[in-house]
Symmetry: C2
Subunit: 313 residues, 2 copies
């Protein structure tokens, strides 16, 4: 059986026709006349030796052979489009699109952005603050920052600093709650965005690691960490803050972490991009800038003591 491929333009015509289930619409998509498309399909059917469409009154439907071919054709042309877009994006060293969760965007990226823009005025930055699964090719994404455990198969993945949590509050609150025990009097804010962690990194886990009776949070709940931290900044209460999200506020005195003891989450933010793309100029620049920015606050992180997790029975 001769397995060599038929003319590719005919296959593309078939793909469009099968997707639209209409020759006319397919012709429109490909910017050709219906006549040309009809001819292409006919030629493809001649190559195959069997019809691919059944011509009905004023519609077409796929034959068995057509059904066998259509899904693969669709997927194949989508893949070609994706690859082509990726290749096109490769030569663009001017723009950089980054996607990150809302918390990281608000608490890490946003406060430092002007710094990056200053260092690399030639790079046009775009942001997409969403947590939904990313498709680098489809959504024109260059870099993704994601929090969790990994691994990240098929991607270039650079784990950033390890994330821990520790109670953070306004400086003026610190004297009111001089000890961890005194937090029983405080409004303890709940950040549900870390609820997926296993082992957990919530108030109960932190107090257990501190060796005190469990702190039971009674304050408001937030589904996004940045909202929880905004509540802290507004003086509402005390929250468990993740390293990346609070370190700048700690460095600049807007928040304090008075107990000096932090609980590891095991999870990290990772810098993700398509494999091979990590060498593109603007991506490498962004990556190095992030690492330098993290380094700037490393001394603060190192001043904290990492708590041991008690062994669970």
């Amino acid at each position: 059986m001769a397995t060599s491929l038929p003319p590719l333009t005919a296959l593309r015509a078939f793909d469009a026709a099968a997707r639209h289930m209409s020759f006319a619409k397919a012709a429109e998509e490909l910017n050709v006349t219906p006549a040309a498309l009809s001819f292409q399909i006919k030629s493809l059917e001649e190559h195959l030796g069997a019809p691919l469409f059944r011509r009905l009154n004023r519609a077409v439907e796929l034959t068995d052979a057509g059904h066998a071919l259509a899904p693969d054709a669709k997927a194949a042309f989508e893949m070609l489009t994706n690859g082509w877009r990726a290749a096109q994006r490769m030569q663009d060293h001017q723009s950089l699109t980054v996607t990150a969760g809302p918390a990281f965007t608000a608490k890490w990226l946003a406060p430092r952005l002007f710094q990056f823009a200053h260092e690399h005025p030639e790079i046009e930055l775009r942001f997409s603050a969403t947590l939904r699964a990313m498709d680098f090719a489809r959504d024109d994404i260059d870099v993704a920052i994601r929090f969790g455990y990994g691994p990240d198969p098929g991607l270039y993945s650079l784990p950033l600093a390890e994330e821990w949590v520790t109670p953070v509050m306004l400086p003026e609150m610190a004297e009111r709650y001089p000890t961890p025990e005194s937090l029983r009097e405080a409004v303890l804010i709940i950040d549900d965005s870390v609820a997926f962690l296993d082992p957990p990194a919530d108030w109960e886990a932190w107090s257990e690691a501190m060796g005190i009776a469990p702190l039971v949070p009674t304050g408001p709940r937030f589904s996004q960490a940045d909202h929880a931290l905004d509540a802290v900044l507004a003086g509402t209460g005390v929250a468990l803050g993740r390293r990346a999200l609070v370190i700048k506020d700690l460095a600049e005195g807007r928040l304090v972490a008075p107990y000096g003891k932090v609980l590891s989450t095991g999870a990290r933010f990772r810098f993700l991009c398509p494999e091979g793309a990590e060498t593109r100029l603007q991506i490498e620049a962004f990556k190095n800038w992030m690492l330098r920015e993290i380094d700037k606050t490393a001394h603060i992180a190192e001043s904290f003591e990492m708590l041991e997790r008690p062994i669970k029975k």
Copy 2:
């Protein structure tokens, strides 16, 4: 950014060149002159606005853009080839290639084959007795018979009769082992091909379901069920036989299942083919024939009593 695809023949030329890492070999593969191929690559690079290959002394290597495009191009053209082959195979109603495991091939298909050939002399049958993962398009497989739990995503999947196991032996042995307890004196053959089942369907599980002390098999082990059953037929001992593999020997008196109690495995043989292919003439004929053949021995299977699995603590 104009995302429309470049000329497809150029993309195919690029794919071949990227796979061979040589324009000359790519040209050979596509049955064109090196000049034509060189021109195609050049035109593709013009469309992209950047080189895809770096021309070295007497070799070529991919640029970043080329690296971004090559894997997708390769996968896409493989997919098109697969789809095209599937469409070609659709119109072939004469031949039928079936793959099944060695046990099913030896103990179910082989003894019944002449029957199918008799009913459908026009269909040319081919067999491939292997358990390795099948690729319908790549290996020209039409139908696969597989044992296990499913599901079978993306395939037409028809579960056949439920598989149970029960001790089988030569008729003349049955009087020597009149009760399940008496099997302690017998050579109990081990069939490792069902070791993957969960819950298990081995001697221990069967005796437990029978409510007797565990039977500990001491006989030979076989990795394939047909070899275990051949050992039974040779008078070596007693084995736990799967329904599909022993029912014909039971029906024709070569083996007996004297205790009349069978243990369900929860797993089944399934009739698998690419979605949509189940309506092809020869595939439907084969499917219906299998169902009829199974029906012929259904009365025997129904004469057995299904054991309850004891609830595990």
